[in-house]
């Protein structure tokens, strides 16, 4: 694996030394080392493999080949900012920081440098307001959507009422983990459930006191906002105290194979949000196998195809490629700039027909992006782990969040940010337009 990366780095270096050719630069701020690497590696591999597929199968986007580069952040905010400083002069079309902490640091910098950023399912939720956050996009769903989707699912499960229910939020004690608290607090006031918030220090290998508290408080449901080892530890602790797994629901960052496999049979029945489909039953995987894995071009081993985090990386790359196509169409050129890419992202339309034509029928929701909504519909599904078959099964269709409430909160937060940073909310004109 390391050798492949070395070869890739060499190739990138050689490309950089060659005469300037038309190319579309898609960097990846990945983390293949450190405590969170098990989640970062498959995401980075999925992202890279899809871009390789576009080069190998389609000859690039609109005839212009893709250049990939990777910068290791180790899920560390300072290193993420260093990566950005190194990349900003290389015309990166879109940045995917894969960390809420890094995202918060890069929002003002990317605004200033006019480089679009896509934070899919993470980052600053109020970036949905494209009039304030012109350069940040967080479609198809964000944390507040996720929290609301879980509550809507629980409402469905409880005949429309959560009165007198107790719900515990077990969260990673970080900017990421604290994101759903405002939404859940508002929803608890509206829906009448009691909210109990329990923090876990990073990385979260020791949670006995938190789970003793859960055992004592006896909540009806536990919602988890975790990442990395915190997830498997929490699921193990839940199994230890015999908490009913079907009442334990994680965010999409707490719902991968790595979170449940270490727990074995104890994880059976655990649920998590899914912002996209999983498994290999999508035609695009045949193409990935043929054009990427079988040709020895896969970023990883090729064995991760269809796993949750790989699928998410692939989905992020797919959305980036589709936005680049829109940008090329808008501007009538193949070689687009970061500013043009932003236009493509701001006018992206994903339909069910498009998803089917890409070999991903039903994989992600249909949505449209516009200046006032950079966040899509916020829809997500619920998946449940089958420990016997060692696979995730989708148990619901797309569930919509309470967008009225979310947008109200988005406006409050984003306008406060605009006031603090002297930003006049406005829709950006198209680049060169």
């Amino acid at each position: 694996m390391k050798t492949t990366h070395f070869a890739a780095a060499l190739a990138v270096g050689m490309t950089a030394a060659a005469p300037a050719l038309a190319e579309l630069h898609f960097p990846s701020l990945s983390y293949r080392t450190g405590p969170f690497a098990p989640g970062g590696i498959p995401f980075a591999d999925g992202y890279s493999d899809y871009l390789t597929l576009i080069n190998e199968r389609d000859g690039g986007i609109g005839g212009v080949r893709i250049r990939q580069s990777e910068c290791e952040t180790a899920y560390n905010t300072e290193r993420g900012v260093e990566c950005y400083q190194g990349l900003r002069g290389e015309d990166p079309l879109v940045l995917q920081p894969l960390s809420t902490g890094i995202t918060y640091q890069l929002i003002p910098r990317t605004m200033q440098d006019q480089i679009p950023m896509h934070t899919m399912g993470y980052g600053r939720t109020s970036a949905v307001n494209g009039e304030v956050f012109n350069w940040t996009f967080n479609y198809p769903a964000n944390y507040w959507d996720g929290a609301s989707v879980i509550i809507n699912y629980l409402l469905e499960e409880n005949d429309g009422s959560l009165d007198d229910k107790k719900i515990a939020l077990l969260y990673h004690n970080s900017a990421f983990g604290r994101e759903p608290i405002p939404t859940l607090t508002r929803l608890s006031e509206r829906e009448g459930f009691e909210l109990l918030t329990i923090g876990v220090d990073s990385p979260g290998q020791q949670q006995s006191s938190q789970w003793l508290q859960i055992r004592r408080e006896r909540p009806d449901y536990v919602i988890m906002w975790g990442w990395g080892v915190m997830n498997s530890t929490a699921i193990q602790e839940a199994a230890n105290i015999r908490f009913p797994m079907e009442n334990f629901i994680g965010v999409w960052w707490s719902g991968s194979e790595q979170d449940v496999i270490p727990v074995g049979a104890g994880a059976h029945g655990y649920k998590a949000l899914a912002m996209h489909g999983t498994g290999r039953d999508y035609p695009v995987y045949d193409d990935l196998q043929t054009y990427v894995v079988d040709r020895g071009l896969a970023a990883g081993t090729g064995g991760e195809l269809g796993t949750v985090n790989y699928s998410r990386g692939m989905y992020a790359a797919m959305l980036a490629v589709e936005a680049a196509k829109v940008a090329q169409e808008i501007h009538g050129v193949g070689q687009i700039t970061p500013a043009m890419m932003r236009d493509g992202m701001a006018n992206l339309v994903i339909t069910e027909e498009l998803m089917e034509s890409l070999g991903l029928p039903g994989f992600g929701p249909a949505f449209e992006v516009d200046c006032t909504n950079h966040g899509g519909t916020g829809a997500a599904m619920i998946q449940q782990w089958d420990a016997n078959a060692r696979e995730w099964n989708l148990i619901t269709d797309w569930i919509l969040p309470d967008r009225e409430l979310i947008m109200e909160m988005v406006m409050e937060d984003s306008l406060a940010y605009a006031a603090e940073n002297d930003i006049t909310p406005t829709c950006l004109d198209r680049s060169g337009g």
Partner: protein
């Protein structure tokens, strides 16, 4: 008795169990520091490396498979057989002894008589090297470790305490096993150091390198022995931590849990590591229990260090550490 009191007792007992897990890591640090005066920054990574090797051997994984496949274009990942746990543990121990030998040959031998800070820096380098080696050898994906240790609530304790007090205490069976294993480990280490020739040599080196050398004790052999024992302790810690949350690279961060234990218990005392671990475990859990409603929880990481700092002010050498007296 009010239920809150029972709950506080339950938290304290579980804190003791967590403390045993911290002590398991701290023990490895103490062993190496005692014998060579080196603060081994790589101890946490050694636990990770040992656990990775154990799972790899157990599941018949081919070491360096990714590298081999990338160079030769093959697609080999597994030998196709599983090893019995005991054989895999013995195999892992052999790898840890080999590692100890290599550390002595390639690192320590060349740094004899250097300042302690140089040796410390060398162990930082070793930590990153081992982490990378573990990744290349066994891959970075999360692995399930099953050595047959039971997990989950002890039903017997729950039923008994319910019958006696009307409150069913929760104690994880894995934590009970960890406590038992730690006790056996400490007794074993004590017997080894008191009643064996190698153990006495080890203590002699710990007391005075020069005097030990003058009576014919091989410093290099003792270092290999010490690092091998620390490797064994790392394997035990890796098994216990890996069994509870899977074997993944965050396992190396358990070293951070051992630091306040060492500050509290002293860097040179095996009983200090145990008592320090127990104090930190109970302290952080009870603090979280009492102050969680006020400070909002997630206090465990900083509280352990705060407690250690308070101890530092009053007993810089730790509870059981040797007082450093320098004459001028």
């Amino acid at each position: 008795m009010p239920i809150e009191v029972f709950f506080a007792i339950e938290v304290a007992i579980n804190g003791l169990m967590a403390g045993v897990m911290y002590a398991l890591v701290a023990l490895g640090f103490v062993l190496i520091f005692k014998a060579s005066g080196i603060f081994n920054f790589a101890q946490g990574v050694m636990a990770l490396f040992a656990a990775l090797t154990l799972v790899g051997l157990q599941t018949g994984q081919i070491p360096f498979a990714h590298l081999i496949n990338a160079i030769f274009g093959t697609r080999m990942h597994h030998f196709g057989w599983d090893l019995p746990t005991i054989v895999a543990i013995i195999g892992t121990m052999a790898v840890m002894v080999l590692l100890a030998f290599l550390v002595e040959r390639l690192v320590l031998k060349h740094l004899v008589n250097q300042e302690p800070i140089i040796l410390f820096m060398a162990t930082i380098g070793l930590a990153y090297l081992l982490e990378g080696l573990g990744d290349v050898m066994w891959g970075a994906e999360v692995k399930q470790l099953d050595v047959g240790l039971p997990q989950g609530a002890s039903v017997w304790i729950g039923d008994t305490t319910y019958a006696l007090f009307g409150y069913d205490f929760f104690i994880d069976k894995l934590a009970l096993w960890a406590a038992g294993i730690a006790a056996v480990l400490v007794i074993g280490l004590t017997l080894f150091s008191q009643y064996t020739r190698q153990g006495r040599a080890l203590r002699a080196v710990a007391d005075d390198h020069q005097a030990a050398l003058s009576v014919g004790i091989s410093l290099r052999a003792i270092w290999v022995l010490t690092w091998s024992i620390a490797g064994f302790v790392a394997l035990v810690a890796g098994i216990m931590w890996g069994a509870s949350s899977g074997v993944q690279f965050s396992l190396s961060l358990i070293a951070l849990k051992a630091l306040p234990v060492l500050i509290l218990g002293g860097f040179t005392s095996i009983p200090g590591a145990i008592v320090g671990g127990l104090i930190i475990g109970v302290g952080e859990k009870l603090f979280d229990f009492f102050f969680q409603p006020i400070v909002g929880g997630a206090t465990e990481n900083w509280f352990a260090y705060m407690l250690a700092l308070v101890f530092l002010l009053f007993r810089p050498q730790g509870l059981f550490g040797e007082k450093i007296i320098e004459r001028v």
